[in-house]
Symmetry: C2
């Protein structure tokens, strides 16, 4: 009875808008230094959640989108999904004797990554298709789950899921506690991310958007399967990001975070909506604790987007000065 | 202080799983007769939400998918989106003098629908592209909003948003109150549905999946726009439905409802998961209050899916006997 009364009171208060789920920044953003970036985030969240404020945004419209590689987890020395693909090539090699003499596999299997990638996009495509297609979605999910639970980062020796940025985990949680719905909008593979994003980021599969290969529904011995085909369906990068946001979410974000030129159009699309907005870039400036790279990096190049952020007053997070801690495993 | 204490108690109880949002069927499914369909739905919801039960499903996995045309709202005398397209043809005709002699438009403008559709899929495609492409997504949204707020159904004279099935609205609300996340998975256009589904069904844009045409991101005078192009991107029907569920949701539904052979693969995909499942079909059996059609209808044909439902014991809703009321506007 007491429990019921409390439930009723709670429902009533929430219904009346007298309480809402609120998280104070001082309890949430613990790994952030009190700098310009943190202040911009807190000021933004406080104004869009304050009822009666001219900047108030109703809960269903509090959409926040985040790039993944380089924004929520690291992306050096190369995109982690590509490291997954390389591991798959090694596992699959015994079934493909022809790879011994066929590029890019021949170079790869000799440990010559540079030689393998000399073939450019075509070589990359061949590696991805050989490792990401030709199985059911359920089989692929198992491959990803097994790899992510055991593979180690070549530099830190940590699980890849430990290579996530602690301040960004706090930001995701802080936003959700303030009524935001958090989405990933990544150039990475949608089915490569979904098996672990809920546990690691608190983002369920239906809020993960990414690149995809073609798939096909079939009855196999009367049992329905979805098969992954060797063809690109969609590349969720650059101008593809706002297209995907429109297709998957159907609502414009009011906050978006990226770290590279691949995120520029997502940030432009976010900025072009009415009302209060926050556009953020994670700037990799800490060679000691993480990596330092921007305008000339082959991976995660940040050049045009950095110019535009500076010109338009977007929020640029300086990892070195804005983050007390980058990874949870740091002392 | 008292308010804070109640909030805290509430959070604690929910956190401990001691209370969860529960809605009793007797308060929710008011337009359903106490027949086999209602009983199957209630039994299913009660067992998957009962903690400790072998059929218990955690909240994040309570995914329910619904077809739209003929399942949540009516689809006779033809799909409502096609009636929208016909209205657009009339509006646009003065800008297209060539339509006077060009099929399918010439027949359409003379009121000869049968003649216009004699060209089959190609004619349909021409009508859809002429009316659904060539504008920005924001412009298209405005067209849909204006039409849906004013256009009237040719038989009932009601707004199309009044042509929704009251028992299905109750079912959606009952499921959500029991922790389900409700999705639309429709052959209809994704951007035709999103402007009104939240208000009418309580389903936000990011939980609406449908057919789509190609879109493109551009900067127009420095302002980002997404333009609708005259090409099909994806048809969310038949085998496309499980493919779209996998792509957009990334999780298999535990409950799915449709009304036609276009929903068969979605129901098969749902049925093939492990644990408790509910597969439902709305069977149009009430010529007096709605329409009666199934195996030979050009619109919403229900033939193979009805056979499979009967063979496998899926839940078939007989509109005439299972529903006390079909539309809210009925006396």
């Amino acid at each position: 009875m007491r429990r019921l009364r409390i439930l009723f009171a709670c429902t009533l208060l929430v219904g009346l808008g007298l309480v809402s789920t609120v998280a104070a920044a001082q309890d949430s953003l613990l790994s952030w230094n009190d700098g310009q970036a943190r202040r911009a985030i807190v000021a933004f969240v406080e104004k869009v959640t304050k009822e009666g404020s001219p900047d108030f945004v109703p809960v269903p419209e509090r959409i926040a989108t985040f790039d993944n590689d380089g924004t929520l987890w690291a992306e050096q020395p190369m995109y982690f999904q590509f490291l997954f693909a390389l591991d798959r090539v090694k596992v699959l090699a015994p079934q493909h004797p022809e790879w011994k003499t066929k590029e890019p596999f021949a170079s790869l299997l000799k440990g010559n990554l540079k030689g393998a990638l000399a073939g450019g996009e075509r070589a990359m495509g061949a590696i991805v298709m050989a490792t990401h297609a030709g199985m059911t979605t359920a089989e692929f999910e198992t491959l990803v789950r097994d790899w992510i639970a055991s593979a180690k980062h070549p530099k830190t020796g940590r699980l890849y899921t430990e290579m996530v940025y602690q301040p960004m985990l706090e930001l995701l949680a802080y936003l959700r506690a303030n009524g935001f719905k958090t989405f990933i909008v990544s150039g990475g593979g949608i089915e490569f991310m979904r098996p672990w994003t809920e546990k690691v980021y608190g983002i369920p599969p239906e809020q993960v958007i990414g690149s995809s290969i073609k798939t096909k529904f079939d009855l196999r011995d009367g049992k329905p399967v979805i098969t992954r085909l060797p063809g690109i369906d969609f590349i969720d990068d650059k101008a593809g990001k706002p297209v995907a946001i429109n297709r998957f979410i159907g609502r414009r974000p009011i906050l978006a975070f990226g770290n590279s030129d691949g995120d520029l159009q997502m940030l432009q699309w976010t900025a072009a909506g009415g009302g209060a907005r926050l556009m953020g870039l994670v700037h990799h400036t800490d060679a000691a604790r993480e990596w330092a790279y921007d305008r000339t990096s082959a991976i995660g190049r940040l050049d045009k987007a950095l110019d535009e952020a500076q010109a338009k007053g977007w929020t640029v997070v300086d990892m070195k000065s804005d983050w007390k801690r980058i990874f949870a495993f740091e002392k």
